[in-house]
């Protein structure tokens, strides 16, 4: 949290504290570097093109992870993110098909608003119906999947080339893919102000201890609602990312991202119990999870094992987290 550290707190202590609050902040960059090193080791001709396809592949997953992160930190869960991404994806691809670049930008904003509305509806349903969030968002995910199919029955549509370039091109040098820039800019402009704001603090507070937050005067329902709105917004960015990287809209493409996004969140060190974790971990975890199938292809192994490894990673990492917690409690 953005509480300024007291001046007499030493640097080491502050480091240790932020490590405890967000284990992903330090471990994930390390894990990403290691997995990049492994990739380069087994595929020495790793080129700027490989970097570009990594960034493009990870872009939608990173946004799915970002969307899930906000809700999970607030102590909830959102199993409708993939379908929300699909809605944004087909909305963008059907609206932009005949548009030029200048028209496509306001359309993109409209898609973002639609995403926020989807998030708001998720939030309202979870809070007003009092159905547990797992079940409620599992069901709304089903509904948004239907909405995506209404908008576009079969994969199709398109977007102007300049718009696609935002996700597929490169900036200045071929080693700096636009997808990476877009990711950093989008997550940065949404997350950093949010985290530093009062609302951000409230999201962490509600996630870590709802009753304590309530007694400190935090409006629980409003905070949880806001978390779902941000989740919808990130999902919409992810849907736009899908449109950019695939060039079309596909009503079923999003499904995969719900579970993989949650996997990235777990791997990225965000506690599913809420209130602990940050954005750096999950986003970087999205890159690690994207690298796995790529590496498998380089190693001539069936890339479908990637999903198996993903599943194993989730379980193992949560187990390690559990052991650390147990050890800490024993002391």
């Amino acid at each position: 949290m953005s509480v300024p550290a007291a001046p007499n707190v030493g640097l080491a202590k502050r480091l240790r504290r932020s490590l405890r609050r967000d284990p992903g902040l330090f471990s994930m960059p390390a894990l990403l570097i290691v997995s990049l090193a492994i990739t380069v080791a087994i595929h020495p001709q790793f080129s700027d093109f490989d970097l570009q396809s990594l960034a493009m592949g990870a872009l939608p997953l990173a946004f799915a992870a970002a969307a899930q992160t906000v809700v999970v930190i607030s102590g909830g869960i959102d199993l409708s993110i993939g379908s929300a991404m699909a809605v944004a994806n087909v909305l963008a691809a059907s609206a932009m098909e005949k548009a030029n670049f200048a028209q496509s930008l306001p359309l993109a904003v409209a898609v973002l608003i639609a995403g926020a509305i989807i998030g708001a509806l998720n939030g309202l349903i979870v809070i007003l119906s009092r159905i547990p969030d797992v079940v409620a968002t599992l069901t709304t995910g089903f509904i948004w999947g239907g909405v995506a199919l209404v908008i576009m029955e079969k994969p199709g549509g398109g977007a102007p080339q300049e718009f696609l370039n935002l996700g597929t091109g490169t900036l200045f040098t071929t080693w700096l893919p636009n997808a990476l820039v877009l990711l950093v800019v989008a997550v940065g402009t949404i997350w950093i102000p949010l985290r530093r704001s009062k609302l951000g603090l409230q999201i962490y507070a509600v996630g870590s201890d709802r009753i304590a937050a309530f007694r400190s005067g935090v409006n629980i329902n409003r905070t949880r609602f806001a978390a779902y709105v941000f989740s919808g917004l990130f999902s919409a960015v992810g849907g736009l990312g899908l449109t950019m990287t695939t060039g079309i809209g596909a009503p079923l493409a999003g499904v995969y991202y719900t579970l993989s996004g949650l996997a990235a969140v777990v791997v990225g060190g965000v506690s599913l119990a809420g209130g602990r974790g940050g954005m750096v971990g999950p986003v970087m975890a999205a890159f690690v999870l994207t690298l796995i199938p790529t590496d498998l292809i380089f190693l001539n192994i069936d890339p479908n094992f990637g999903q198996v490894i993903q599943g194993t990673l989730i379980v193992v990492i949560v187990m390690i987290g559990g052991f650390v917690e147990m050890e800490r409690n024993r002391k």
Binding site: L138, D302, Q307
Partner: protein, 330 residues
């Protein structure tokens, strides 16, 4: 928390029916569920006179059985405060493995199918019960693993086309004695055993106790991990059984065969009155929940709307039912 909305809701019911009815619904929620089921059936009959006949009823039971069996495992898991998101992948994998091993004979093929359920259930159980991973994460992980393994396996097995044996086909699609679905032969005993175990045996009571307060159970000397382990293995096995019946009904083992059963399996349990936080509910509610969802599906099919609209309506109605139910019982 929302005392106001609760009183509004119950006042409406009190206004219509008089006071005794609400308390009856509160204490015997299954009555409300059965009433809802009857209303739905009456609705179909009024919208399309002549729809409701013995053949229709027998078809509803036929379609409800696999859902009821998946939801049986889900009920057990939810009673202990967990959830199993791997049931759909397990059911699919069980069906696929059975179909690709049908050359070995029916019994062996079925064993392969159920074996998948057992193994995944065991892994879930070890993770949740011994290593204390949250059920959501554990079953999410094993679901991904099962699905991934199945895709890899299906590509290796490309040469041998999966074939559904006649016995399984009869089980999943056939009827006997002029209309009783064969899959009831599997579902009814499972239902009877489950209801008996939950209501009358020590294991059943322990299940509720663990779901209600697992810490208290540990302090009372109950080996909570054993209960959970058995629970997840049973859930996996039941998902495997359901997978066999589903593939018998469709007669083709596909990689996304049982995917559509995940949401209904959770929804049937919730609508049936089992709390996702554990310790409250039972299987009889789930049975009615599964029947309600099946009838609902049949209504949506009769409406003859596109698949997309159907999906939206189905989800929306599940939300409404679950919300109404949560308000009625809380």
């Amino acid at each position: 928390m929302s005392e106001r909305s609760k009183t509004v809701f119950s006042r409406v019911i009190v206004g219509i029916t008089g006071g005794g009815f609400v308390s009856l619904l509160r204490t015997r929620t299954i009555v409300a569920l059965i009433l809802l089921l009857l209303v739905l059936v009456a609705g179909i009959q009024m919208a399309r006179p002549g729809t409701v006949n013995p053949i229709w009823i027998s078809n509803m039971l036929l379609f409800a059985a696999p859902l009821g069996i998946v939801a049986a495992g889900q009920t057990l898991v939810m009673l202990t405060g967990g959830i199993d998101l791997s049931v759909a992948s397990v059911a699919t994998a069980s069906a696929y493995l059975m179909a690709t091993h049908s050359g070995l004979g029916v019994a062996a093929a079925i064993l392969y199918g159920l074996g998948v359920g057992f193994v995944v259930g065991l892994i879930n159980g070890i993770g949740v019960a011994l290593l204390r991973v949250q059920p959501l994460v554990m079953t999410l992980g094993t679901g991904l693993m099962t699905e991934g393994m199945l895709v890899v396996y299906s590509q290796k097995k490309m040469a041998e086309a999966p074939r559904v044996p006649q016995f399984i086909e009869d089980l999943g699609a056939g009827k006997f004695l002029g209309g009783i679905p064969n899959d009831l032969i599997v579902w009814v005993p499972i239902a009877i055993i489950l209801i008996f175990v939950l209501r009358r045996t020590g294991y059943g009571r322990l299940l509720y106790a663990v779901g209600d307060n697992s810490k208290a159970c540990t302090l009372a000397g109950i080996r909570v991990w054993r209960i959970l382990l058995v629970n997840y293995v049973t859930c996996g096995l039941l998902a495997g059984v359901a997978g066999l019946i589903i593939v018998g009904g469709t007669d083709s083992a596909e990689l996304r065969l049982a995917e559509v059963y995940l949401l209904p399996s959770v929804a049937a349990v919730i609508i049936g009155g089992t709390s996702i936080f554990g310790g409250r509910g039972g299987y009889s509610g789930t049975i009615v929940g599964a029947l309600i969802l099946t009838v609902l599906n049949s209504i949506l099919t009769l409406l003859d709307v596109p698949e997309s609209v159907r999906q939206i309506l189905y989800g929306a109605i599940i939300l409404l039912l679950a919300a109404a139910y949560t308000r009625l019982t809380d």
